[in-house]
Point group: C2
Chain length 164, copies 2
DNA sequence: CATGAAATTTAGTCAAT
DNA sequence: ATTGACTAAATTTCATG
């Protein structure tokens, strides 16, 4: 079973990435289809796992989370990686956890209240099993921050089997 | 003019961060208020800039964007920073642009199709005025990726003047 | 797949508290 | 600031092309 993202799917995805609460009738106007057609396409995009989820974005500053930082961590021994990930996942201040190539083994993105809480967070992470070093880049200004991806109609078929 | 986020606002924000398309009547059930009250609170949270926006999340893998990478860039001369940011902002593959402390001056987060397109992107960035060095961390696995922030009712008043 | 029309659900308005 | 009662709008269902 294979599917492709056509021009209209691409438009719908672009619109919903921009405005996740856009009404179906307005989407329908944009793409030139009826409301039930848009609903059906959205349902299928969700079913196929192209549309993963919808989220509100809250301004961290308004909640006194004034520090954003990237923390590059070195975790010794890959047998300790799962535990590291588990501990990091449990902390709501940690928004992203990736394993990476190059210097270090993991990259974290964190939002925290101030330099004091950042220091506490770093101390906590450094105390975890296998954690050797951390390198922290504190964000001074953010100029662009989005999860939106450019969507073009795909010429290539997407085989479900290949993905998960 | 000052405002505080009470227990119910915190619940609403948490729910909408989890599900950005949650219906007002479902939110109302969760928080124990009427639909008009929930609408009014959402309107005010948006007005005050606490709720910034709503977005659908699209799976990059389904669109053949198989590479995620963090690129730490050194841009010489702060007078060249605005141009760097402007050029970077224009590229849809670049999802995040931050100026940072420590090693390098900027941190980029990028999504691109494959190692070939990543190489092209790096070459492009390295050609920009003032760009000296780049250090790339390619993501092998992502374990957590969210923009959701922990929301607790604030005891402290938030003065509009202090923000923006 | 797409559509219009009908049925159902959700959201907006507003006077009253 | 919150509500119920009302009206308007949005969404789902479904028979048909």
């Amino acid at each position: 079973m294979s599917h492709r993202i056509d021009e209209i799917d691409a438009q719908i995805l672009t619109l919903l990435q921009q405005n996740g609460r856009m009404k179906r009738n307005r989407i329908a106007e944009h793409v030139g289809l009826s409301v039930p057609s848009v609903s059906e396409r959205m349902r299928k995009l969700e079913e196929r796992g192209v549309l993963l989820s919808y989220h509100a974005v809250v301004d961290p500053k308004r909640l006194h989370l004034d520090i954003t930082a990237f923390i590059r961590v070195t975790v010794d021994g890959s047998e300790l990686h799962p535990e590291f990930v588990e501990r990091a996942t449990a902390l709501p201040e940690i928004q992203e956890i990736h394993s990476i190539t190059g210097e270090g083994t993991h990259m974290l993105k964190v939002r925290t209240r101030n330099t004091t809480t950042l220091e506490q967070l770093l101390a906590q992470i450094q105390g975890w099993p296998g954690v050797h070093g951390t390198t922290t880049s504190v964000v001074l200004s953010t100029f662009k921050e989005t999860r939106a991806v450019p969507v073009k109609p795909t010429e290539i078929y997407q085989y479900e089997e290949e993905l998960v």
